[in-house]
Symmetry: C2
Subunit: 365 residues, 2 copies
């Protein structure tokens, strides 16, 4: 099977680039002396998880209970569900843990802490800390930190944070600064807990940009990161990886031709409507068109409009896409987590255009 045989649109994963991205992150964290708990929310694939776990302790991070169920059914037991738990979801956690998983949950809420401690599942729990993103979590100085710890009792095993505001950074020094905030916030919270006699065995932090650019991770017991595995146009722009390190692209066919542009069968569903690069130095619209080999042969050929199943690629006059209807392109995604989520599988290549494997994804909730 070759890229020219596949139904379009579909997702192509270059295993060589994936492995290189995994190696860069593994080496970065090895140098800093902290193991990785890879976040599987981007890849949602056991095949990718196995590669990402090479040389690591074996725990993963997930963003949905569907992922938790999928990965535990494939033998991964140490799973951090890194979205604030609700009391109602504890039954499902209990079911999965009873079947062999050991899912860790997170909370920043007093009543939920009490509900966790009172639930028969009594899962291991981390308190979520806000290191500057202002999404979930308590500030490390928040009075409620110790009260939540008290309510969790022996369920409490540590703290976690995600410095998602690293995505607003635009330079290496920005990322270094946010990585320091992230580390300091979670260390401060862990320190307060320990001082009050609580456990903080796990001190977990991470985002791909901060994991990549941190100078010192002292105090952390693990780093979480996910999008680094595949990379995308936005992560390239904020310096998480180079422009040639995007492992996942959308294979698409030309379905119409007009002066200055081509119409393709990858629209808002196949590419997602994510506009991450809108405020980055280069606005890539809904994605950048590459040739079938994945090279940027068409310069700034950008998907400027995305309808449900139609994408409109505007071409550089000097580098036209001279393909007939049925001709094929690959589109590098703005934000690969969002793009990949519409697809149920990866067609895996290894540098060339031959499909060497098909890997399943687990979507939904």
């Amino acid at each position: 099977m070759n890229l020219t045989d596949l139904p379009t649109p579909c997702l192509v994963l270059d295993r060589g680039i994936l492995k290189r991205n995994l190696l860069v992150m593994a080496n970065t964290l090895k140098r800093l002396g902290v193991p990785l708990r890879p976040h599987m929310k981007t890849a949602k694939s056991i095949d990718v998880a196995r590669l990402a776990l090479e040389g690591q302790p074996g725990g993963i991070t997930v963003s949905t209970l569907a992922e938790a169920e999928y990965f535990s059914s494939h033998g991964i037991t140490d799973i951090l569900y890194a979205v604030g738990i609700t009391p109602q979801k504890l039954d499902q956690i209990g079911k999965l843990n009873a079947a062999g998983a050991d899912i860790i949950v997170i909370t920043d809420d007093l009543d939920t802490a009490a509900a966790i401690a009172a639930h028969p599942a009594r899962p291991r729990t981390l308190i979520e800390v806000d290191s500057g993103e202002e999404r979930g979590g308590l500030l490390p100085s928040d009075d409620r930190l110790l009260e939540i710890a008290h309510r969790l009792g022996s369920c409490l095993v540590g703290v976690m944070t995600h410095a998602g505001h690293s995505y607003s950074g635009r330079s290496v020094s920005d990322m270094e600064r946010v990585a320091l905030q992230e580390r300091n916030a979670v260390n401060e919270a862990a320190g307060r807990l320990r001082q009050a006699g609580h456990r903080a065995d796990i001190v977990s932090a991470g985002s791909s940009p901060t994991a990549r650019h941190a100078q010192n991770l002292t105090g952390l017991t693990e780093v979480r990161a996910g999008v680094y595995m595949f990379g995308d146009l936005f992560q390239a722009e904020i310096g998480t990886h180079g422009a040639d390190s995007i492992a996942v692209t959308v294979l698409t066919s030309v379905i119409g031709r007009r002066p200055g542009r081509v119409l393709v069968d990858a629209g808002g569903l196949a590419l997602s409507k994510d506009r991450s690069t809108q405020d980055a130095p280069v606005d890539y619209g809904f994605g950048l068109a590459l040739d079938l080999a994945g090279r940027p042969s068409y310069g700034a050929a950008i998907v400027r409009r995305a309808y449900q199943e139609h994408g409109v690629i505007e071409m550089e006059p000097a580098r036209p896409i001279d393909l007939p209807v049925g001709g094929r392109l690959r589109v590098a995604p703005n934000h690969v987590c969002m793009t990949a989520a519409a697809h149920d599988r990866y067609y895996v290549t290894d540098g060339g255009q031959d499909v060497v494997a098909v890997w399943h994804r687990t979507n939904g909730w």
Copy 2:
């Protein structure tokens, strides 16, 4: 089963609102004397298709070959695949037609027309006409129209257009004007074909706003529309339906609370990153929060930020969302076609909060 029992996030479909929306469109087109070929790209559900086809000839429109396969496997045979065909996809069309379907394809391309005529499948084909959207299709005056007709030979059965630029309209008079453009363009193309001795049995046009607001559809043999079935915040803003006619919402749980906002477990994947309302009179961000009964009890409580699995709802100070972690909301979508696509099923209600059915969706390609 009740809305309070469901795993979140998930998709809720109010059958009563759906039926009312279907009736409004059916009555509108009945008055204008044109049958409906409902577009199933929004609903992607055989249960919805059956309701939408009541009193209609029985043909549908689809946006993917996966939909074509799904609906034909459920006994619907007259299917218009309304995305420009590529030569490579003809094999799949042939396979489905050999199994009992009668899929109509569209093209605006000379070489593709020749490929269609030469392929053993020889599917019925419409020439795509551009009525002002500037996406796919030929202008009705284009010289290539007759050449494509010539190449298609007996595969040619008519013309079609989609006035997607109706989405830029903001008033009833805008929609009436675009509906007239849409009708005139496709009638002009059909007239030229007939004058040259070709067949134009099918003269197909439509979008939800133009179908809803057209004053006269003389010459059309059918109208295509899809999003009207469910409705969304954007369609309400451009006048396709009222604000109380949104049949599909995303059920979500509160996972965090902060002054002025709540964090919910419906993020960019569950809601989509579509920002249709950005340039409409009211910008609803990534959706509008409703109470569990689907009422706008919280005023302008808008999902302002959408991460992969987290949504941040900013509240009106005077109408706070006073729910604990685990409390439930429903979010009305910006663009329901995009939102629904992340979900594999509808939890169907009928005015209340009891789940009266679960309907499957067919996603992907």
